[in-house]
């Protein structure tokens, strides 16, 4: 008992000296206090495990021969989520579809973060005509309604008879390319403010190059914003991909994606009689997007010093 008291005292005194409290570590600590955000984070990890590890545990494989006689079976002990009309296991397909959808979301996010933060930082740092050009470009992209553009692009791609396997990558880049302006604006605003700070004057008198000033001194200060926007844009990417695939313009079968699986609900008979075909991918999209958004909000609260209560 007394030993336990002593130990807990020791622990109370020690922690701050363990490692230097970097801003990131402080934010992480803040994040841990937010139960909802942590729940979102855990759900997201489970979803990743489900999609990337799950298929390895399944008795079925994507290479299994189609068997129409075994098609359209409702959930059973062999097929937990039933089978589709050519007899493929729906559970396996949901998991594989998740790989595609998550990958599209993440790669689209990376493309948009890379373009958005770089251009935003350059615009904010140089101002003047560089800023005007970049921001007007952003305005143009933002003012194009994205759905029509995506539909037109999708139709054009279908015309070009592109290999479905490569088509995913194109979808990723297009989604990423259309979503950078929002981030670029936020980063630019931050950089405009940061470049007037005294520490930037101090960096200037050290004789640093512009590149170093922008990418080493300014951008790291905007990372909180970038992280939050990036997280939320993963959810956005997944949704956009689903919409496109649902419309038959994004990822096309046989590659499964949550979006093109839901398109099963297109036909009346499957919508009414075979809900196991479209409910599972729908639920997956819903859970993933909600989890990411909840986590993104938590991250924003943890990283923004002004929102601390």
């Amino acid at each position: 008992m007394s030993e336990a008291v002593v130990r807990s005292n020791a622990v109370e005194v020690k922690p701050p000296t363990k490692k230097p409290a970097s801003p990131w570590r402080l934010a992480l600590r803040e994040m841990r206090k937010n139960k909802l955000a942590m729940a979102g984070f855990v759900v997201l990890i489970l979803m990743f495990l489900f999609c990337f590890v799950g298929p390895l545990l399944s008795p079925y494989s994507i290479n299994d021969a189609m068997n129409v006689r075994n098609g359209n079976k409702p959930p059973s002990a062999q097929h937990w989520l039933g089978t589709d009309k050519v007899g493929r296991d729906v559970l396996l397909r949901v998991m594989l579809a998740g790989r595609t959808s998550l990958l599209v979301g993440i790669v689209a996010m990376m493309v948009s973060v890379a373009i958005g933060s770089t251009l935003g930082a350059i615009a904010g740092y140089y101002r003047g005509w560089v800023d005007t050009i970049i921001m007007r470009l952003a305005d143009i992209i933002m003012s194009i309604p994205s759905l029509p553009i995506l539909i037109i692009l999708g139709a054009a791609l279908s015309e070009l008879k592109m290999d479905p396997a490569n088509r995913i990558y194109l979808v990723m880049f297009i989604i990423g390319f259309l979503s950078w302006p929002g981030l670029a604006r936020l980063v630019r605003g931050q950089i405009l403010m940061l470049r007037e700070q005294e520490f930037m004057q101090a960096a200037e008198v050290l004789g640093l190059r512009d590149r170093r000033k922008i990418f080493r001194h300014l951008l790291p200060n905007t990372v909180p914003i970038i992280i939050v926007v990036a997280t939320l844009s993963v959810a956005n990417g997944i949704l956009t991909e689903s919409v496109l695939s649902f419309l038959g313009l994004g990822v096309v079968p046989p590659t499964p994606s949550w979006g093109n699986m839901i398109s099963a609900a297109n036909s009346m008979i499957e919508f009414q009689k075979r809900p196991w075909l479209w409910i599972p991918p729908g639920v997956c999209i819903f859970i993933t997007v909600v989890a990411i958004n909840v986590m993104g909000d938590g991250l924003r609260d943890a990283l923004d010093p002004k929102s601390k209560r």
Binding site: P20, A203, V205, L206, L208, R216, H217
Partner: protein, 327 residues
């Protein structure tokens, strides 16, 4: 004494504002010798900081350095290529600022920030730079240097951050250290420590210091030579003892009288009447004429010229041109 390290010749820096042209630095000439501490004194807005920023060539629009020369080791900094200028900043001429709390980048560790100039200007390896950085942290009087190396700015106090700023400034053994009100934001005890530190550095490395301040106490303690500025012009320049013993310009005399004296009861300190003239509407006269007790008709007609008198004492005032003395 030693040679001139920096020589300002008729420097002019103007700011183009919507209400007119502000001559922030108006025909300023003075020089800093090797290993000397030169203090630039004057009230807010008189052009002290702009002079320093002109030297660094970091006056940002709407400001523009439009005339004169700044000679460093015989070459004119104002005509240097940007790339060569970058090599001088931080390497040969370093600068520290008034606000230690905001002068360090909050997301980089102290170590990152001290090693940066070493990696860039001296081309050191990361390992050597780290060793040197830890030496520097010890040099500026911070214990546990190895731990501070990995800390972030928010973990340090204001005095420690100013020491770190000095360490960064010293990292490349600069010939000149510009200190723009380095102690204004610190409390008095820390102020004394920082001034001590700077004095030690000066004697140890023979670094010239250009110290910008409005605190005559700091001037008395640190300076070898003093330049007094008013409304963008140098109005008086003298070795420190000469200036304190025998201030010539009525403005400098006013400043000296406005200083509290320890162990002497005073109900109210002296104040110089009037206000600093609006920098946009300066006429062709002595800018101090409206506030001056000794204003003569000549003072309103044309500006006085900085003239050298005995004991290396320079002043710009008509009172002395006629051989008259202030009573």
């Amino acid at each position: 004494m030693a040679n001139n390290l920096i020589e300002f010749r008729n420097l002019r820096t103007n700011f183009y504002t919507s209400s007119g042209v502000v001559k922030a630095v108006n025909d300023v000439s003075f020089s800093i010798r090797e290993g000397e501490t030169l203090c630039v004194v004057g009230e807010s807005g008189c052009g002290k900081s702009v002079t320093a920023m002109s030297l660094m060539r970091l006056v940002s629009p709407p400001g523009k350095t439009e005339g004169g020369q700044i000679l460093y080791k015989g070459q004119d900094l104002l005509t240097l290529k940007e790339r060569d200028m970058r090599h001088i900043r931080g390497n040969e001429i370093a600068m520290i600022f008034q606000e230690p709390m905001t002068s360090l980048n909050p997301v980089l560790t102290i170590g990152d920030q001290i090693t940066e100039p070493l990696l860039i200007h001296k081309g050191m390896t990361r390992k050597d730079a780290k060793k040197r950085a830890i030496e520097l942290i010890e040099l500026v009087g911070i214990p546990r240097a190895a731990k501070i190396f990995d800390s972030y700015p928010h973990e340090l106090s204001g005095g420690m951050r100013q020491r770190i700023m000095i360490a960064i400034a010293l990292s490349c053994d600069p010939k000149l250290l510009i200190a723009d009100e380095p102690t204004t934001a610190l409390d008095v005890t820390i102020q004394a420590q920082i001034l001590d530190l700077m004095r030690n550095i000066k004697s140890e490395f023979n670094t010239a210091i250009m110290m910008i301040t409005h605190d005559l106490g700091v001037v008395a303690e640190m300076a070898d030579h003093v330049v007094v500025m008013y409304a963008g012009k140098v109005i008086e320049e003298a070795p420190v003892h000469e200036l304190f013993a025998n201030p010539k310009h009525p403005y400098t005399q006013g400043l000296m009288r406005a200083k509290p004296i320890i162990n002497q009861r005073q109900d109210r300190l002296y104040t110089i009447p009037g206000q600093v003239p609006n920098p946009v509407e300066l006429g062709n006269n002595c800018y101090f004429n409206e506030r001056c007790e000794h204003c003569m008709s000549l003072c309103v007609e044309k500006p006085p010229i900085l003239t050298t008198y005995e004991n290396k004492h320079k002043a710009a005032c008509w009172l002395y041109e006629k051989g008259g003395e202030v009573s």
